[in-house]
């Protein structure tokens, strides 16, 4: 016990360094270590680089400079909670927890503390219902949207008819992996395709059984909700059984460069969803000159332009836009978390604005409202070009089937509201 007291005193000293006010504090809960570091690093680099760009180019947002507080979670829930608690005291404006597990921790905590959370394409899907989840936003799209976008893409490929087709879902055997199942089941009965589900246990290094099954059953398409090492192994195994890679579609957490490079040329043609288009944006040039060349790169600068880097940058852009909106609404540059929440709820992303920001077409146009915290739910399909080592966007943003997803969201959020004693309504 003695040791603890000592450590406690040391910590108290560390924490005494109070928050410097009149800054926009942006925590970055990153994971640059642990099993998923390969995905966490580029995202965090992109997130920070864009905010640094705003500081360097515009002097912050609305004249108020941004202070980034990075905290390493290692994708570990408990560390994430520690990060949340340690950064929240500094006046954090908006959280991007970057892990579904941490998100679930933070939903009740941040709601009670009055700090908005943005979970972009992960986290709790039914948070799209802003009347139940006042402080949680998951625009531009969620997992159920993703499932529907994938099916809509396949419908398009098949002339609008999937009747009798066999579609297999290979999923990480966890809450995350099981997300799309309900949506896909609905869609399966609607469009008449046959859905088979193959669970892969964490971590997913050994998938022989699943891919032998796919080889036996010869589905027309394979969808994948994979994560971590599971992605690389799945791509390799799919190539091994000579599954046509263009019929193998991962979700947007299974479609980054590091997911396909270990398989080399064999991964060529593999497709994945994405919520942010990857291409050469003018803003990347600006980041290079104003941030990297100035020696302020968040990482070693090597990740610029990668899928997850662009996604991190996109997330930072959405956060910055929301803050700007908040400043606009409340007429002050020094916004509070509650004001940022209002800004997020009034957020409107247009093509014109994205072009203006030097990232034309990076995401779909969408607007947020109290009822809809989920955005347009659109996603695109991209394809891996192994020869050039780039992900190439194949389609424009595809809309999900709202008629399927809306009732599911309503049902799940209602259940949560009942369980937690929340009366739905706008703030």
């Amino acid at each position: 016990m003695k040791m603890k007291t000592l450590a406690a005193m040391a910590l108290a000293g560390a924490l005494a360094t109070g928050p410097a006010m009149a800054e926009l504090v942006m925590p970055d809960l990153s994971y640059r270590t642990g099993p998923y570091a390969a995905g966490g690093t580029p995202f965090s680099d992109g997130y920070q680089d864009y905010l640094n760009l705003l500081n360097a180019r515009d002097g912050g947002i609305g004249g108020e400079s941004i202070r980034i507080v990075e905290c390493e979670t290692g994708y570990n829930t408990e560390k994430g909670v520690e990060c949340y608690e340690s950064t929240k005291g500094e006046g954090a404006l908006i959280y991007q927890p970057l892990s579904t597990g941490i998100t679930y921790q933070l939903i009740p905590k941040a709601t009670a503390d009055g700090i908005p959370i943005h979970t972009m394409g992960y986290g709790r899907t039914s948070a799209a219902n802003g009347e139940v989840f006042n402080w949680v936003f998951n625009y531009p799209a969620n997992y159920w949207d993703a499932a529907s976008v994938a099916i809509n893409y396949l419908l398009d490929e098949n002339g609008g008819d999937l009747n009798g087709k066999k579609i297999a879902l290979v999923y990480h055997n966890s809450a995350y992996g099981k997300e799309p199942i309900r949506t896909l089941e609905e869609l399966s009965s609607m469009h008449g395709f046959e859905l088979s589900q193959l669970a892969v246990d964490h971590p997913g290094q050994e998938q022989k059984s699943q891919w032998l099954q796919i080889r036996r059953e010869r589905p027309d398409y394979v969808l994948m909700w994979g994560w971590g090492v599971m992605n690389q192994v799945a791509v390799q195994e799919a190539a091994n059984i000579n599954f046509p890679m263009e019929n193998f579609i991962g979700n947007w957490w299974a479609g980054a460069e590091h997911d396909v490079t270990p398989a080399g040329a064999a991964a060529n043609g593999y497709k994945s969803l994405n919520m942010n288009r990857v291409q050469d944006y003018p803003v990347l040039e600006e980041i290079k000159t104003l941030v990297h060349d100035a020696g302020n790169a968040a990482g070693d600068g090597s990740n610029i332009g990668k899928v997850l880097y662009v996604r991190g940058m996109y997330a930072a852009m959405l956060a910055a836009e929301a803050i700007a909106k908040a400043q606009d609404i409340h007429g002050t540059a020094a916004v509070t978390p509650a004001m940022v929440r209002d800004g997020m709820e009034a957020l409107e992303i247009t093509n014109a604005r994205m072009t203006e920001l030097g990232m034309e077409g990076i995401g779909p146009e969408f607007s947020v409202s109290c009822q809809n915290h989920g955005g347009a739910g659109q996603g695109l399909v991209q394809q891996w070009n192994a020869a050039d080592g780039v992900w190439e966007p194949l389609t424009d943003f595809i809309a999900p089937d709202a008629s399927v997803i809306a009732p599911l969201i309503a049902e799940d959020s209602a259940a949560f509201a009942a369980e937690s004693g929340i009366t739905p309504g706008c703030l």
Binding site: E72, Y84, T100, S420
Partner: protein
């Protein structure tokens, strides 16, 4: 004030077999309790509760539980994460199934259910020993996690597959849910830890504790002097799992508020708690506290030093943290293989003789 036992005469066997035979230790014990109950709750904030105290208190309960099984009864188990999951899911099902019953009863019942599950998975210990048993308990770990993930009844068929702790009150004060005051979170964990530690202490100093230790030290001899190995091992599994179940329930309901089984109660959790008791000291209640404190506080402290003071990149600090924790573990083991508790005992022994060591 000298740290001495001289002059502190015991006139009864009760006094002789008390927990802290040295007067100074007794005073310190009461002082720690007084600070823990009467001072800390009034000064504590969100950060301290969520980053340090609550995880420490909960892990200490789990460590006490595992220490009973491994430290006292000698059965190495790597199923702790799975058993914590049983506690958490039992607590969740009870909380949502019987919302009118007190959460305290739910947590205790969750411990009871875990005890039953633990005893069932303890059955192979009659045939399998040592590291073989340790690996065998991994079967429990993997199976339980798979089960809670697969069978949607356990998470009330929710679409997210996560379990969320609804708001519950003790004496009108919220102890679970988003609106829990930090001191309430702290207090409920502290009360449970105190009671668990007392129960563990009582169990380990009496007949049943001696049967466990006898089995640990030499199982054949133990059986020949009259210890029923089946009963001793299964009670150790049950009691151990009871504590671990309580810690799992608190971990879910009070600390995190929402968990997914694979992430919160995976194999790393089993290893973590095992590390705690080995670093702290096998067969020592104090060691359970010390080990839990060590592994909860050290990473946070290193992070604060590296990131906040030295301003190094977070990933470098995280990697260095691994190197330092690893090196410290090896260093401690070389210096004192029997853990922090033994280090503490040796220090006390020296203190008793100070300033005349010979």
């Amino acid at each position: 004030m000298f740290y001495r036992e001289a002059g502190d005469f015991k006139t009864s066997y009760e006094a002789d077999s008390q927990t802290f035979p040295i007067a100074f230790d007794r005073y310190r014990y009461w002082a720690v309790l007084a600070i823990a109950f009467l001072v800390i709750p009034f000064v504590i904030n969100d950060y301290w509760v969520n980053a340090i105290f609550v995880p420490f208190l909960i892990y200490a309960i789990a460590a006490i539980g595992l220490n009973i099984l491994t430290g006292y009864c000698g059965q190495v188990s790597l199923g702790t994460g799975g058993f914590m999951a049983v506690g958490a899911y039992a607590c969740y099902k009870l909380m949502t199934g019987f919302p009118d019953v007190s959460i305290v009863i739910h947590i205790i019942l969750a411990g009871g259910i875990t005890a039953a599950v633990g005893a069932a998975f303890g059955l192979p210990s009659l045939r399998i020993k040592g590291f073989y048993l340790a690996v065998a308990t991994l079967a429990a770990q993997f199976f339980l996690v798979w089960l809670f993930n697969k069978v949607s009844w356990f998470y009330n068929y929710s679409a997210s597959g996560q379990i969320n702790a609804p708001e519950r009150f003790v004496a009108g004060v919220a102890v679970t849910g988003p609106n829990t005051a930090p001191w309430a979170q702290y207090m409920i964990c502290l009360v449970f830890l105190t009671v668990c530690a007392l129960l563990a202490r009582n169990l380990t100093r009496g007949t049943i504790g001696r049967s466990w230790m006898a089995i640990r030290d030499m199982d054949i001899a133990a059986e020949i002097i009259g210890v029923n190995p089946l009963k001793a091992k299964l009670t150790a599994f049950a009691v151990s799992s009871f504590f671990i179940g309580i810690s799992g329930a608190l971990f879910f309901a009070v600390y995190l508020g929402a968990v997914e089984v694979g992430e919160a109660f995976g194999i790393q959790k089993s290893f973590l708690v095992l590390f705690m008791i080995i670093i702290g000291g096998l067969g020592s209640i104090f060691g359970s506290f010390a080990g839990a404190a060590f592994l909860v506080v050290l990473p946070v402290a290193l992070k604060v030093i590296g990131v906040d003071w030295l301003d190094w990149p977070t990933d470098l600090v995280a990697h260095l943290q691994l190197v330092i924790v690893g090196a410290l573990i090896m260093f401690f083991l070389i210096k004192e293989p029997h853990g922090l508790a033994q280090l503490w005992r040796v220090t006390k022994e020296k203190l008793r003789l100070w300033p005349f060591p010979y």
